[in-house]
Subunit: 342 residues, 2 copies
């Protein structure tokens, strides 16, 4: 549709179209300049028949189960990990190029993990399996900042604390926080369904079950994805992922050592010119709600020295977990794919 | 009143008696075995005349302004920092021993900063100024864990992310979160008064204004207090303090290096026997709401290896910021003072 894309049209599928990320995908695909041909919306059998809008057209949702992907060129997957592992494989075998944000393929070395601003050059590796992984929201944010910092000054040890919103667990997470909050304000006891414990006015010290090592699944995925995005398997990255009672927006507190000296002011200037980042100046740091939700960029603030160590910086990151953290990154991958590889 | 205290009675004052910490002080003083004589409750002129209960007696609140402290032996201060700096000094000059939890004296080397489980031996230093500082909730939690870990294995660099509840800003903070949440659930726009930005369903990347270095006042206070509590001015401690939409309970994500090897399992066993700590086992970590609020102990969970580094551990801490984080620590200081020094 625009000069810098190919002029051809691409038939796509959105798998998990009725979920939070699926809905955001439809919104962003509608706004994008991607040359879309036939668009198929897929979801569970219960959602089949619902109609969703894309570029002014109303499209009926079809059942994923048994759908034949052979006519689809690009399939966006926004479904839980276990389902993605099975169905994305099936879609790829039918000839579709899959862009998956479930995390199912984070450890598969023959599936590239891509953030276009960070490692667009790895995208060609999609040909091996026909699958491209879009990383977790925290990995995307962190890699977008560590990449330019590492290029400039080299990276030593990195430590990150991630505060995840309830929407990282999809619509059930959002409903849980809203429902529990309403019940508590009405003097009723909260119902616990989506998470293991009350989340309203509470914080959970993990977002997913612990593995043998004691690290949570989300923490292991985050570390793995960032190491792959940076192409640095030796990076010393330590992560803790918490869940806080916020609907949208992922917040990160990052502490990092650099191999070369880098003053906080220099780092802030350099990050401000890096793709996809906006650096907040001023006395107050950026918040998820006010500076990230609804925005395409990752917002950096509170860039300051860690005075306890040599060559060490602290900074805060916020981003919209449904946009750059998921749907937007998938759309950007698709755009790059069409522009350079199809 | 009990055998292990002296049998004498002590006339005390609670300054800021109508605040959140003040009310908790009254509750804990009432439950304690401290031999109390005359108890004077003090607050701002607007609160004067209110009646509060202590050990079944109803006591009228008096105005702090102009109050003569000369008959008071121990004065608990639970008021904002600026007020504490002025009035605590006045109380001490009148002969009262002040126990202050405002942070006003964190940097004063002639005022001991005390957590009884950590550095009871420093308490005698109160004689210089007649003032004892009770540290911030995060500093208390962190020092209670770093002290036994350091004694056992030595400490290398420590990195902490603190998630503070709104009650760390007192009743206005609690009212702000409750009011904003209720308005948002009713489709109204939230009013911003106590904090700079909406806190309901949001997270703030700092809890207090930034100093010249970029670190916030709360972060600088935390580091200073922990170094003083541990008696180790060379400790490499880096801190980030966030505010999250939780009413009560401070949560910490801690990463630390030890000088000697210390397996997570060993660390957990050792911490479980340290005073004031309870270690949670099991697949899920402890939460502020369910495991800390209303409890006297600091709860440790998720003790695990930081696999990115040699001799490095991660752990989570939660504690009731009004109890062990403030009022309980002050009462414990008073008990130690009476038992060993008066």
């Amino acid at each position: 549709m625009t000069d810098d894309l190919t002029g051809r049209q691409f038939d796509i599928a959105v798998v998990g179209a009725t979920g939070l990320v699926g809905e955001m995908l439809l919104e962003l695909l509608g706004e994008s300049d991607l040359p879309l041909g036939q668009v198929t919306l897929l979801a569970s059998a219960e959602s089949a028949g619902r109609r969703l809008a894309l570029r002014g057209h109303h499209l009926a949702v079809r059942a994923l189960d048994g759908f034949d992907f052979s006519g689809v060129q690009i399939a966006f997957f926004a479904v839980p990990e276990a389902l993605a592992r099975e169905e994305a494989q099936r879609a790829a075998e039918a000839g579709a190029i899959v862009i998956d944000c479930s995390g199912a393929f984070a450890a598969d070395q023959d599936v590239p993990v891509i953030v276009p601003e960070v490692n667009a050059d790895m995208l060609a590796d999609f040909r091996e399996r026909g699958i491209i992984a879009s990383p977790s929201p925290a990995a995307i944010q962190l890699a977008m900042v560590l990449k330019p910092l590492g290029d400039q000054a080299g990276l030593g040890a990195v430590n990150v604390t991630v505060c995840e919103p309830v929407s990282s667990a999809g619509r059930p997470g959002v409903d849980e926080l809203a429902g529990q909050t309403a019940r508590l304000l009405n003097g009723q006891s909260p119902e616990v369904k989506a998470f293991d414990r009350q989340i309203a006015f509470n914080a959970h010290p993990e977002t997913s079950p612990a593995l043998q090592s004691g690290a949570s699944r989300a923490e292991v995925r985050l570390v793995l994805e960032v190491l792959r995005l940076l192409g640095d398997p030796g990076l010393r990255l330590n992560a803790t992922c918490l869940r806080i009672p916020v609907f949208f927006g992922t917040s990160l507190a990052v502490q990092l050592e650099t191999a070369q000296p880098l003053a906080p002011e220099e780092a802030a200037v350099m990050l401000a010119s890096a793709p996809g980042l906006v650096v907040s100046e001023g006395p107050l740091g950026a918040t998820a709600l006010e500076d990230a939700v609804g925005q395409d960029s990752v917002r950096v603030s509170r860039v300051r020295a860690d005075v306890s160590r040599e060559q060490s910086l602290n900074l805060s990151l916020v981003a919209d977990n449904l946009r750059k953290g998921a749907a937007l990154n998938c759309v950007q991958i698709a755009r790059l794919l069409i522009k350079d590889h199809l």
